[in-house]
Assembly symmetry: C2
Homo-oligomer: 89 residues x 2
C-alpha cells in the first residue's frame, strides 16, 4: 500500500485535481491532500471535485486538522491552521 501527498497552494484548483487523479491512475491506493492557511478551502475543493466529477469510487477516509507554528518576519511566531484529507480508492 503506497501513500502519496498533494500539497495544495495558490495555483488554480484544477492543477491539484489533476495531480491527485494522476496519482490514483498510476496505481496509488491513498492520496493525502494537505494545505494550510487560506489554501485549506482549496484543498476541500480539490477533494470534492476529484470525487464528484472524476473518480466517484474514491472515498474520504479521514480528515485531520491541526496548527503549525511559523516564524514570521516580525520574530513573533505565527500560528497557521492545517488540514490533511485522506482519500482512498
Amino acid at each position: 500500500m503506497t501513500e502519496h501527498v498533494v500539497f495544495v497552494g495558490n495555483k488554480p484548483v484544477m492543477n491539484y485535481v489533476l495531480a491527485t487523479i494522476t496519482q490514483f491512475n498510476e496505481g496509488v491506493d491513498k492520496v493525502v491532500i494537505k494545505a494550510r492557511g487560506r489554501a485549506i478551502s482549496r484543498a476541500v475543493d480539490v477533494a470534492e471535485i476529484v470525487r464528484n466529477r472524476f473518480l466517484p469510487n474514491v472515498k474520504v477516509e479521514d480528515i485531520q486538522i491541526g496548527t503549525e507554528e511559523l516564524d514570521s518576519t516580525q520574530g513573533k511566531p505565527l500560528n497557521v491552521s492545517t488540514i490533511e484529507i485522506y482519500l482512498s480508492k
Copy 2:
C-alpha cells in the same frame, strides 16, 4: 444531549470562537462549526483556536466535507464546498 451550530462567515475569527465557547459554557455537549467556500479556512481556525487556547478538553469528533449547489446570478448553478466540524467535550 444537545447539539448547536455555529455558522462561520466573513466576520473576524474571534466572533465565532466566542460563539463556540459560549455554547460550551452554557452546557452544550456538542457544537458543529459549519462553513462553505472561502470561509472553510476560517472554520478550521475557529476549531483550532477554541481547542488550543481556550478549551483544551474539547475534541474534534468528526469532520465532514461536501458540495452544495447554489443558484448564481447568471442562472448557471454554482458548486460550493462545505465543511462541518463536530466538536464535543
